[in-house]
């Protein structure tokens, strides 16, 4: 129906809808798209406007520290503000558009992976993944697999018994980093529907519960210009990201002192991120690298523009089980051999090429980075810093991003396993010159915030139930990667959208809007 700037409303306005979506990022927008044109009156409350604004972005500022065994702590205070975007479209505005589903193993309970197992299987998610792919106008994973059918882009001949495989990634144009005009349409067109209203510059600062604390009664809404409003509805969906979801739940402590949905002290715990590990080579030291013994082009794996469909090399469930490791991928990229090829490297590559079957061109040297699943860890958490508040009076966040020994063990077992699989198949050799004590320093963080309101049927083990409803709160749901019990390796957006499709179906049924 409309976009409304909340600053233009009379002070103390009362916003009403059947469904209130807190956050106009990709999760909130996708939910609204699913409900557009239906019977439910839907309102989105978005903190930002249509363009990035540094004053609004400053509301995200907080503190962060990354900790890991055998490594010095890594201060990361810029991360809370720089790893997300507080604007209509959310972090989709700065997203590169890379899409991949989580692997079947990511959904499974893996005895060797602590706290693993989703209350939904990949098979049950397939239809929702397909719908998410259709929305983003990319091929359907596992159904189309067009990338792996291209005869001009042959995969490495890894042995299936070794458990590593080529996993495709695709790119949508519907991201701010890919096609701004297309993304502008994506983040606004749904509001043409008569049942949708989007309120911009509308910051939700409090989720208000009824006196018994089991229902949301309303929301406090604040504008940076000083206006204050309220919003109320039948049902509420919290969709402001993996860090901010926590902030709002914990800060909403008017009835439950520990915050909403936090009866078992789980909100904010189990923060998981994605990081890449790699080093460059120089005259003295090797780079993280893959020698490929074949001369055939490696276009299936290379992504020179960072926007091309490509594959990564990934470990499947059997390999993970054998290695006692989590998910793991190696991403290849073109390397400048002149800068990193040492005499020893050249010699061992020549011998490896011969032993692998010989090629006239001597094979190829490629750079690579590794990604390794960050296991859920209760000490990896987002908390509130009561001593620091933003201009709206909201406590700022403190992120303690924590790795355990099992994370490093998993990474190192996986790098070894990958090198063994590559060599055993006669496809090449792997170089991993990185010591455990270097890992944190050479890691590079993605903007993926997962696990902080994890999904589990047991209220003692999860913040939301399998329908994404907050345990103990009858009309509040959470959308976004904060509900992921485990993080896998894949970029989370496609899974976020697939879960939102699933939530939309549930809400339609729950609210009688499917009839």
């Amino acid at each position: 129906m409309a976009f409304i700037d909340a600053r233009t409303l009379p002070d103390a306005s009362r916003i009403q809808a059947d469904l209130l979506i807190i956050g106009g990022g990709l999760a909130g927008i996708t939910l609204a798209k699913e409900l557009a044109g239906g019977a439910l009156k839907v309102a989105i409350l978005e903190s930002g406007g249509r363009e990035l604004d540094m004053e609004i972005q400053g509301l995200y500022a907080g503190s962060a520290m990354v900790r890991a065994p055998d490594n010095p702590d890594k201060p990361f205070d810029d991360y809370p503000a720089q790893s997300r975007a507080r604007v209509l479209g959310g972090s989709g505005m700065i997203w590169g558009g890379k899409c991949a589903p989580l692997d079947p193993a990511d959904f499974a309970a893996r005895p060797w992976a602590p706290r693993s197992g989703w209350p939904v299987t990949r098979e049950q998610m397939q239809g929702f993944y397909d719908r998410a792919c259709d929305l983003l106008e990319i091929p359907r994973f596992d159904r189309d697999n067009t990338l792996l059918k291209d005869p001009t882009r042959t995969p490495l001949a890894l042995d299936a018994e070794d458990g590593f495989f080529s996993a495709p990634r695709a790119f949508t144009r519907y991201s701010g980093g890919s096609d701004k005009a297309a993304f502008d349409r994506f983040r606004t067109d749904f509001a043409d529907a008569a049942n949708i209203t989007v309120y911009l510059h509308a910051n939700v600062t409090q989720i208000r519960l009824n006196p018994t604390g089991d229902q949301v009664e309303g929301l406090d809404v604040a504008c940076l210009d000083g206006k204050r409003h309220t919003a109320s509805g039948k049902t509420y969906v919290l969709a402001v990201g993996g860090i901010e979801n926590v902030r709002l739940l914990l800060a909403s402590n008017g009835v439950h002192k520990a915050g909403v949905g936090n009866a078992h002290d789980l909100v904010g715990r189990f923060f998981q991120g994605h990081v890449t590990y790699s080093v460059d080579g120089d005259a003295e030291s090797e780079a993280s690298a893959v020698h490929v013994s074949r001369d055939a082009p490696m276009g299936l794996y290379l992504n020179p523009t960072r926007t091309s469909p490509h594959c990564v090399l990934a470990s499947g469930a059997p390999a993970q089980e054998r290695m006692g490791a989590g998910n793991f991928t190696v991403t290849l990229y073109a390397a400048d051999e002149t800068g990193i090829a040492q005499a020893d490297t050249k010699a061992l590559r020549q011998v490896a090429t011969t032993l692998d079957g010989g090629t006239s061109g001597g094979g190829q040297l490629l750079g690579c980075f590794a990604m390794s699943e960050h296991f859920p860890n209760p000490d990896s958490r987002v908390t509130l810093d009561a001593s620091a508040k933003d201009p709206l009076g909201m406590p700022r966040i403190r992120l303690e991003w924590t790795y355990g020994k099992t994370d490093w063990d998993s990474l190192e077992r996986s790098t070894a396993g990958f090198g063994d699989a590559l060599g055993a198949a006669g496809q090449g050799r792997f170089c991993w010159p990185i010591k455990r004590s270097q890992l944190l320093a050479i890691s590079s963080a993605s903007r993926h915030h997962m696990g902080t309101t994890r999904m589990n049927a047991d209220p003692k083990r999860g913040v939301v139930d399998p329908d994404l409803k907050v345990h103990g709160t009858g009309n509040l749901y959470v959308a976004g990667s904060s509900v992921f019990p485990t993080s896998g390796i894949a970029n989370p957006t496609l899974t976020i959208l697939a879960l939102v499709m699933r939530l939309a179906d549930h809400l339609k049924q729950e609210l009688g809007a499917d009839r």
Binding site: D344, A347, V351, T354, G358, D420, G423, R429, I434
Partner: protein, 119 residues
């Protein structure tokens, strides 16, 4: 092993490679077998890799390594056997890591043999 024997070994490896019908190597003619087998292999660098493999292992000899790597002599099947040994090594975790490169123990032994010959 004498220098002549070393050339014999490399030449033999070339012959078995050619016999295996591998496309790129089979077409080559070994005017310099050593160079043709491993391209322009830098024997100094190869020996350095080999010395790293030898370090920390029980002392061995050219004879012992040659017997391990070529138990049936330098027959046409030798390179195929080496390839199988490399795959087996990787699958049972018998590896040698040099400057971060993860190599099979068999490859390490090959470099070790070259290093011993170069001493």
């Amino acid at each position: 092993m004498t220098a002549l024997a070393r050339r014999d070994l490399l030449a033999a490896l070339f012959v078995v490679t050619a016999s295996a019908g591998l496309p790129s190597l089979a077409a080559a003619v070994p005017s310099n077998p050593k160079a043709r087998l491993f391209g322009d292999l830098d024997l100094t660098a190869a020996a350095r890799v080999g010395e790293a493999w030898l370090a920390g292992r029980a002392p061995t000899t050219v004879t012992a390594l040659a017997a391990r790597l070529f138990p049936r002599g330098r027959e046409p099947e030798a390179l195929s056997a080496l390839r199988r040994a490399v795959a087996d090594d990787f699958r049972r975790g018998a590896v040698f890591v040099h400057r971060g490169w993860r190599l099979s123990d068999t490859e390490g032994a090959l470099f070790g043999l070259l290093a011993l010959e170069a001493r």
